[in-house]
């Protein structure tokens, strides 16, 4: 499956839902927020939110800022 994650087009074999994608990328579920096709995915729905070819995903976290 081909996804655009944070602007990068990448192929994923095992990322049928948001929870699986975040885990595949080696990220801590508790420290990120996810947007799928410009819609926020609440953390409680990571498992239930399926992914499809061409989905545009943003995964963000807090960094230093003023």
């Amino acid at each position: 499956m081909r996804l655009v994650v944070n602007g990068e087009t990448r192929d994923f074999e095992r990322a049928s839902n948001v929870a699986a994608l975040v885990e595949t990328l080696g990220l801590d579920l508790r420290k990120v927020a996810v947007e799928r096709n410009l819609e926020i995915v609440p953390r409680s729905l990571y498992l239930a939110t399926g992914l499809w070819d061409g989905d545009r995903i943003e995964i963000v976290h807090f960094i230093g800022g003023g």
Binding site: N6, E58, G64
Partner: protein
Amino acid sequence: MNAPILGQSGLSQSGLSQSGQGFAAESQDAWTVAGRSFRSRLIVGTGKYKDYATNAAAAEAAGAEVVTVALRRVNLSDPSQPMLADFVKPERFTYLPNTAGCFTGEDAVRTLRLAREAGGWDLVKLEVLSQTRHLYPDMEETLRALKLLVADGFKVMVYCTDDVVYAQKLQDAGAAAIMPAAAPIGSGLGIQNRVNIRLIVEQAGVPVLVDAGVGTASDATMAMELGCDAVLTNTAIAEARDPIRMARAMKHAVIAGREAYLAGRMPKKLYADPSSPLAGLI
């Protein structure tokens, strides 16, 4: 110009008049934004530090309870790189997510909705910039974004120009705090228009914080002497030769300015007035 720069708002909350001792206990002097009370009147940023460990130590030295944070894409090529939350811990500091780098209301709203999901927090700092050279906010767009965010349930602290009229419009639109720039972000030039900051403080029914442009401790003291409820600074600490020491200086500066504001400064006079009595001279 005798009873100089005393607005009315600070005194009533301080417990000063109720103490009966003639002085207020510092512990009574908290400020409240959107229903949350803080004792520290210094909010520090978390950008520009050489590493997150220095950042955390500076926030501690500043005595800060609130830190601003930015929201950005995670680095997919290196998910194991250090994370802010591992050093500046959200259990210890209240995160105030910002919209730095946003140039439209829609960008700002999108960013803060993601921040709310990442941190579960509705108290946010709105900044909608106009251009990169001076980083002054686009006030028309800021006001529009504020209305969108308020409608979405956010409690919004608004970075703004020191425009007295716009400050009132922000308050009327439901801003939780007004945060005028003292000078351009990261410039360290200090308060450029004391008159406007004081007028904004006097008319405001919500907290006023000087945000941006503080360069050194005396700038923070001046903001507090003008009656601001708190000061937000980042670069002045992060880019000091010794950030930890400057953080400590800022902590004392804000306390000194607040105390001086509550104490009420002496009137300025044109001529000398001897401190030692002239009577009884030999």
